[in-house]
């Protein structure tokens, strides 16, 4: 992540890390998640779903802070984030 001013406690504070999941068949390609992710994790992919909507993908997943903004701004209940560590790591079937 790029900081405009490096926080003094950056060495001590552990930033939460997240992983984003997409329920592809629900997405309608509105791009809200891509535009409003505060750290630019998401981008539009070339792939599209059965209805022809272009899907977002995590181009920069390392930066995800698990803030959950994509999850709440998505009108389709199609995208969400979970903490990166632990058993939630298993991929969605």
């Amino acid at each position: 992540m790029n900081y405009w001013r490096k926080p003094l406690d950056i060495e001590r504070i552990k930033l939460p890390r997240g992983k984003v999941y997409l329920i592809e068949e629900r997405c309608k390609g509105c791009n809200f998640c891509i535009e409003f992710c505060p750290v630019g994790v998401l981008a539009a992919s070339e792939r599209f779903n059965a209805k022809g909507y272009h899907l977002p993908y995590p181009q920069n997943e390392e930066a995800c802070t698990n803030c959950g903004l994509c999850e709440v701004i998505c009108p389709e209940f199609a995208i969400y984030s979970l903490p990166r560590d632990g058993k939630e790591e298993e991929p969605r079937e």
Binding site: Y21, E25, R26, N31, F32, E35, V72, P75
Partner: protein
């Protein structure tokens, strides 16, 4: 004989899934429509509020927004056009244990249902009204309604609307609402917080959610797609907590004043009823 163990794959699901009728998804709303975001924030607020979910009922009328009741896993009622509030009033009075929420559109609540709206607010009936305002009747093809800004183009005002719109926070406050807020579908965190406060407020609480309708209103006014509207909200919203709501008019393309305008205490309809009953019981016969 030892068996090869399969790793346990934890089935993942959307965190809101427990409150969604997910078998009905994807929903009917267009790409870039804001109603789904408003519903998403409402579900978040419901979780934050800590209200017992078996004591919450959601009532909608007719319209695109009115479909919301059908996607949420609560006791939900899809009533006739304009009649969500009287239906909800009956629910609330017949079962005072219930928390009753109305989730509907500007046309349903303020045009055909306008009289029910002002009188429920005047009586201070304990309910939360969430109005998704997309400035037109989306479901029926984008006709002008009572929140359509002056000069805006719609299916029934192709050269421009010659009526003044209602300013909903002002209407709600003047009618007697004890909690009044307005946010847009961009302000997801603040909206979720306002909806939580409204849910926990005793009396008639009202939250207006300004939302894109890319298929009709936004297209007819050349405002772009849902994403363009969200960017417009980012540039043109002004937070003004505590502002006199009469100053919160919305003009086409103008700034959108958002915030919490009213948060007061006042006896509710049921408070008065209980007091009357107690007096009657105390009186010598």
């Amino acid at each position: 004989m030892s068996q090869v163990e399969k790793p346990t794959v934890v089935p993942l699901e959307h965190p809101r899934e427990s409150l969604l009728r997910e078998e009905r998804l994807p929903h009917i709303w267009c790409s870039g429509c804001g109603i789904g975001t408003a519903l998403n924030c409402f579900i978040g607020a419901l979780e934050r509020s800590g209200l017992p979910l078996d004591k919450v009922a959601i009532v909608s009328g007719i319209g695109c927004t009115g479909r919301a009741a059908g996607y949420i896993k609560l006791d939900s009622f899809h009533t006739t056009h304009g009649r969500a509030i009287p239906f909800a009033t009956g629910l609330r009075l017949a079962n005072p244990e219930l928390k009753v929420v109305i989730f509907s559109g500007d046309g349903d609540l303020i045009a055909i249902g306008g009289n029910h709206f002002i009188h429920a607010a005047r009586r201070n009936i304990d309910m939360t009204v969430i109005c998704v305002n997309n400035f037109n009747y989306g479901m029926t093809g984008g006709q002008a309604g009572p929140t359509t800004p002056a000069m805006a183009k719609t299916a029934t005002s192709p050269y421009g609307n010659s009526e003044h719109p209602f300013n909903l926070p002002y209407l709600a406050a003047a009618s007697g609402a004890v909690y009044v807020a307005r946010w847009t579908t961009l302000h997801v965190r603040r909206l979720e917080r306002a909806l939580t406060e409204a849910l926990l407020k005793e009396g008639f609480s009202f939250v207006e959610v300004i939302s894109p309708c890319p298929t009709y209103f936004d297209r007819m006014n050349r405002l772009g797609e849902g994403l363009d509207m969200m960017k417009f909200y980012r540039e043109s919203s002004e937070i003004a907590h505590g502002l006199d709501p009469r100053k919160a008019d919305i003009d086409l393309g103008g700034k959108i004043i958002v915030g919490k305008f009213i948060d007061i205490e006042k006896p509710t309809y049921l408070d008065f009823q209980q007091e009357i009953q107690a007096r009657m019981e105390g009186e010598p016969s």
